[in-house]
Amino acid sequence: MDSNGRAHKILAVYFWLIVLFLLLPIFVVIPMSLTAGDLLRFPPEDWGLRWYREFFASHSWVQATWLSVKIAVIASLLATATGTLTVIALDRRDLPLRSALLHFVSSPLIIPHVFLAVGVFVLAVKLRLTNNEYIVAGAHAAVTLPFIVLIVGSALKGVDRNIERAARVLGAGPVRAFRTATLPSLIPSMLAGATLSFFISFDELIISQFLLSSQETLPMKIWADVRLELKPTVAAVSSLLIIVSAVAIIGAEVLRRRMGPPSSKSTV
């Protein structure tokens, strides 16, 4: 074997070791959640769905899950709608301040959430709006907006705009031309972006933690539970979340690659 081939082999082994490291939590948490015993053991001594039943039978776990779903749905709808409109607006190359605006809408990406959370909290206290799930959803939407702009924006770049021009030449108004010629190619990436914002909001802890007092989201409940004791219920919740989010994210990614415009395929 030549040295190039050997180097490639070593690199391949290295790659799979790192993938194993990255996926380790999945390989451990899911089997452990299937224990029938009282303690987390790997591998479990008795297998069973006991802790999954416990989760669905628990009022507080189910309620926390619903609150998280509600907040995440509102946040992802809000972010997807405003983000897509932003992308369309910024599509015009000669828009004044275009690149400044693009930087501005991307900036929530780089501000630590702790920083934002303190600010939203202090403002909400002043306006007597703490413990309001819509405020939490709004803050989550602001945090996920950059992802929508990134994903939908890269899809718009890959769309063949000649179709829209053709529609215009054939007499369609600008809105109708956009809606019938360009928008359909954006829908897969809008769905992918919405899925992503849903899970970012679903996972967000610190803004929710600061703003909510009498109700808790799923991450807040996990956070509170994990610090008390390592009960297998958390492993069951985690496994459910891992499976649901992996399926949704892979689904959205596949959809976007299959149906989206060609040039957006390399962006992640």
Binding site: N4, H8, L11, Y14, F15, I18, V19, L22, L23, L24, P25, V28, V29, F42, L78, T82, G83, L85, T86, A89, R92, R93, D94, L95, V105, P108, I110, I111, V114, F115, L116, A117, V118, G119, F121, A141, A142, L145, R165, R168, V169, L196, F199, D203, L205, Q209, F210, P219, I222, V226, A235, S238, L241, I242, S245, E253, K265, S266, T267, V268
Partner: protein, 292 residues
């Protein structure tokens, strides 16, 4: 619309309008700008206000932070952890990105999914799973004892090492994707040209390929550093008391209703982050120039 104007020169009837204030675009932007104003700009300004005005301009909170040893050590600790995680992430992630980029296009996408799935797993759940992995009766201890490396369980959880390990696992995908997207942009004919001109594979790698992928990789380092600076879940779950980071400190003070202090810490944290990011970018440019 404007991009039709070039073509309308021949086909005419559409009048060419340029540099008119784009009312339509502004209307489209309004919802996002409103959202960011309410939930991003105003809160951020409020952090500055609360941290620096009480009720008049005061550096009292900042002074308290800079004169308290424990706060300063948390600052140093946070910057150190974030820098180490960011640099290690680049060193470990770069070959991974290189491997993905070296595969045929169709396989690349599948390999990338393996990196993306852990990336979108909840940080809270990943930190929790490290608690389970590293605990006294955890998988790692069981493995170590089975391999007879140790006889009794070793303390792995609640150590600095646990914080580094868990944070690397959480943030490594970000770096891999940043390096990978830089590599996909590289014109490989340049590397082949270098080899045709007599460069060895190693030389072509060092003086052409790596410098060309450097900017994206350094952006990844900066991104991982920024994300680490705000961490609070992982250090609280897998670290010891002395591994607490600025995020934990902010959280503590908000819960004790010391908003001024919390805001001042958050403010200094943001400033420190920006300064270090500028330094990281400068170091990246220096390194690139040195390699070429």
């Amino acid at each position: 619309m404007d991009h039709t104007s070039k073509h309308s020169l021949n086909t005419t009837p559409v009048p060419v309008r340029r540099r008119v204030w784009p009312v339509g675009q502004i209307l489209l932007l309004l919802p996002a700008l409103l959202l960011l104003l309410l939930f991003f700009v105003l809160p951020n300004l409020d952090v500055v206000r609360v941290g620096l005005f009480d009720p008049d301009f005061t550096l009292e909170h900042v002074a308290k932070i800079t004169s308290t040893r424990t706060y300063l050590s948390v600052f140093g600790n946070t910057i150190q952890i974030s820098l180490v995680v960011a640099v290690l992430g680049a060193l470990i992630g770069y070959p991974v990105a290189y491997f993905i980029n070296s595969r045929p296009r169709a396989i690349q996408m599948k390999l990338l999914l393996l990196i993306l799935v852990p990336l979108w797993m909840s940080v809270l759940i990943r930190s929790y799973s490290w608690m389970v992995l590293l605990g006294r009766d955890g998988v790692l201890n069981a493995a170590l004892m089975w391999l007879s490396v140790t006889e009794a369980p070793v303390r792995l959880l609640y150590t600095s090492g646990a914080v580094y390990l868990a944070m690397l696992q959480i943030l490594l995908p970000v770096q891999i994707i940043a390096s990978y997207s830089a590599m996909t942009e590289i014109d490989m004919t340049l590397v082949r040209a270098a080899q045709t001109c007599g460069a060895s594979a190693v030389q072509a790698m060092r003086r052409v390929f790596i410098p060309l992928s450097m900017e994206g990789t350094v952006t990844g380092v900066a991104l991982v550093f920024m994300l680490s600076m705000g961490f609070f879940i992982t250090p609280a779950l897998v670290g010891s008391r002395k591994d607490l980071m600025l995020g934990n400190l902010v959280m503590q003070h908000v819960q004790q209703l010391n908003w001024g202090l919390a805001a001042a810490i958050a403010l200094l944290m943001l400033l420190a982050t920006l300064v270090v990011v500028v330094l990281i970018k400068a170091a990246g440019r220096y390194l690139t120039r040195w390699m070429v």
